[in-house]
């Protein structure tokens, strides 16, 4: 080993060098693998039936081949024709790549009728792979369903020996390989040693929860390199496998300097200049308070400046949305046609959460908007569990933040919700700015108010301001109480009146709440009385039924005695 003065010899193991990686080119996967699969090493891919192992392997080779890197797919279970057919449904033309010598499908099904008469090994398979690899210049090998091959062997010891030979051979030849194995209940311990042989171990699984099936990918081992340790959801859509990486939420992110005008100068003033660029804004309010109109106001202003806005609409179709915005005087049709506005409208229930995410991600990547509007974030609760909704929103917030995109979300409050709750999904800590819209009826008058509850990193007004929806968009009325400033004359009188009114309104609210509680107490007492009556009635019915049953039993006995005299001797009572 000591050869010269510290100069590495040719056979020095390359431990000091960082592991080279080979991109899979599968959407999202390389991000999680921090570059891709280990170059020249073996990756083990586990998963139950239908977990997506074959597609993963095939997509790796397909995308590599498209990029000019040939590969060999060894199929122990599926027929090549079936693979080609399945690939076509994903839009992958394998036959073309095969004809170009960039992909080779090796159908490696051992004749099931073969008679086993003695010991054997896998040398021909290896010879074929090696010969083909040399001819094609292939360095990527996928061995799909290695467990099917192992079924040939009767003894586990032999099975292990062959796998050891196979993995050594793949490594010795410097192939970047993916070996897939079905994970059946006992397989985990059965193939435990494979984990040890593999440089990298990836597990795929498919679960059904809340009537929706979700697929997950987890990297359980990555020797000598970093990789994400989370469970990542993925989907198989019409273009193949798509992994959804959950980036660590960086709450201490560097706020993008600069502000973005909200579309209304008064609101800008309240916000301390406008929305922070790249921040996330939550517009909360009950139904009909004007949340979408505020979002559309922002959208129009941005598009007017020539910026690009992606509008994700969970609530209504594109045409409905455009039309309903016409009455408050917001016409977005021109911007839509000019390509500054892109609307993605789909109902929450139409797709699974992963599809929604992927759809949004694709739109983000393709359209590259400056700002994103999500109408309504509260609808995300219908995506599934609270966790699902949280995941979706956190992901979207993070995605926008990473790229300095302003995200505006509307949030429909149910009557009893506190203002920062998104229908049970607590993302308020992730949100920079919260605007609360209220619609209040008092003294026979409907008043809309707008309040900036929170605006991270900006001095903002703490006043609730009255605003109106006119046929020329929103209009925020001048303040009636000057903050720190002097208010004189009529304005002062007005402000005092309004202040008195405000007290009055609060007192009204307290009285109303007291009445509500009194009513509820009364209702409780009434319900209790009702229930007691119902219990009494049910008890009476029960007694009647018991009496009826007893009477019937007596009648039956009497009839039996009449039919069968003498059989009940001694019972003459």
């Amino acid at each position: 080993m000591e050869n010269g003065k510290g100069k590495p010899t040719a056979d020095t193991p390359p431990t000091a060098r960082p592991l080279e990686k080979v991109p899979t080119r599968i959407e999202g996967v390389d991000y999680v693998l921090e570059g891709g699969l280990p170059k020249g090493r073996l990756t083990l891919l586990y998963g139950g039936p239908g977990a997506g192992k074959t597609i993963f392997g095939l997509e790796f080779l397909y995308r590599s081949a498209l990029a000019g890197e040939p590969g060999i797919f060894v199929a122990f279970e599926e027929r090549a024709a079936a693979l080609r057919q399945n690939a076509l449904t994903l839009g992958w033309d394998l036959a073309e790549l095969e004809a170009q010598g960039r992909l080779f499908l090796l159908e490696a099904r051992v004749n099931p009728e073969a008679v086993v008469a003695g010991e054997f090994n896998l040398q021909p398979l290896l010879a074929i792979i090696e010969g083909k690899a040399r001819a094609m210049g292939a360095t990527r090998i996928v061995i799909d369903a290695v467990d099917a091959l192992l079924r040939l062997y009767e003894a586990p010891r032999q099975e292990r020996r062959e796998l050891l030979i196979l993995s050594d051979w793949l490594n010795d030849n410097g192939f970047t390989s993916v070996v897939t194995a079905k994970l059946i209940t006992d397989a985990e311990t059965r193939y435990e040693f494979l984990d040890y042989l593999a440089n990298t171990v990836i597990r795929l699984d498919q679960r059904v929860s809340e009537q929706a099936s979700t697929r997950r990918l987890r990297i359980t081992k990555y020797r000598g390199a970093g990789a994400g340790r989370d469970e990542y959801p993925f989907i198989i859509d019409r273009n193949g496998l798509v992994l959804i990486p959950i980036t660590a939420l960086k709450l201490d992110y560097q706020a993008t300097p600069g502000v973005v005008a909200s579309g209304h100068s008064e609101l800008d003033a309240m916000l301390g200049g406008g929305y922070r660029k790249g921040s996330s804004v939550l517009v909360s309010g009950t139904s009909g308070t004007g949340k979408s109109i505020l979002a559309a106001t922002f959208t129009r202003a941005a598009c007017d400046r020539g910026e690009r806005v992606l509008y994700l609409n969970f609530e209504e179709s594109v045409s409905m949305m455009l039309e309903s915005l016409l009455s408050p005087g917001i016409d977005l049709r021109g911007h839509l046609q000019a390509g500054r506005l892109h609307i993605l409208a789909s109902s929450v229930e139409a797709l699974g959460v992963e599809e929604h995410l992927v759809q949004a991600e694709r739109a983000l990547a393709r359209f590259e908007p400056d700002h994103v509007v999500l109408d309504a974030a509260s609808s995300a609760a219908r995506l599934g569990s609270q966790q699902t909704a949280y995941g979706y929103l956190a992901r979207l917030i993070n995605r926008c933040r990473e790229r300095g995109r302003t995200l505006m979300m509307t949030n429909q409050l149910a009557g009893t919700d506190t203002v920062q709750v998104i229908s049970g999904v607590g993302i308020s800590s992730l949100v920079d700015t919260v605007i609360l819209l209220r619609l209040e009826e008092s003294n026979g008058e409907l008043n809309r108010t707008l309040l900036v509850l929170k605006s991270r990193g900006a001095r903002h007004s703490n006043q609730a301001r009255e605003f109106r929806i006119t046929d020329r968009g929103i209009d925020i009325l001048p303040p009636y109480i000057g903050e720190g400033g002097m208010v004189t004359g009529v304005a002062r009188q007005q402000s005092e009146m309004r202040e008195a009114l405000e007290y009055q309104r609060l007192a009204d609210h307290i009285r109303a709440k007291e009445a509500e509680i009194a009513h509820m107490s009364a209702s409780l007492a009434a319900q209790r009385a009702d229930l007691e009556t119902a219990i009494d009635q049910a008890s009476t019915e029960l007694n009647a039924m018991r009496n009826e049953l007893a009477a019937k039993q007596r009648g039956q006995e009497a009839r039996r005695e009449m039919r069968l005299p003498g059989t009940r001797e001694g019972d003459t009572g």
């Binding site: 073969a114 008679v115 086993v116 008469a117 010991e119 054997f120 040398q123 021909p124």
Partner: protein, 107 residues
């Protein structure tokens, strides 16, 4: 499974043996096959031996993944045997020699 019994012993069998160089299983398979040809078959056989290291394309064309593999053609459908042919009972049973039927008949 009924007809081939007597006829198969009269007709000649053709063997294609795929080996992997001179590794032990392959060596034993050659020896065991030669013994069967000389013994129970009484020379009524022809033998081709292919080394997968020399001609992987042929192995590919025949779907040979493991070695040694023996493909037997003669009367009836071809039979595939894998292993070093050290299991004499299975071998003679499959070939239908020593009064045993071949593993498969036509029809």
């Amino acid at each position: 499974m009924s007809a081939a019994n007597s006829t198969s012993q009269q007709q000649s069998l053709h063997f294609q043996l795929f080996v992997a160089g001179s590794e032990p299983n392959s060596r034993r398979a050659r020896d065991n096959l030669a013994r069967v040809c000389a013994g129970p078959l009484n020379g009524r056989c022809t033998v081709e031996i292919w080394d997968v290291f020399d001609d992987f394309e042929r192995a590919l064309a025949h779907g040979i993944l493991v070695a040694p593999t023996l493909i037997v053609t003669g009367p009836g459908q071809p039979i595939t045997l894998i292993g070093d042919l050290g299991d004499e009972v299975k071998l003679t049973e499959a070939l239908g020699v020593n009064g045993q039927a071949r593993g498969r008949s036509h029809g």
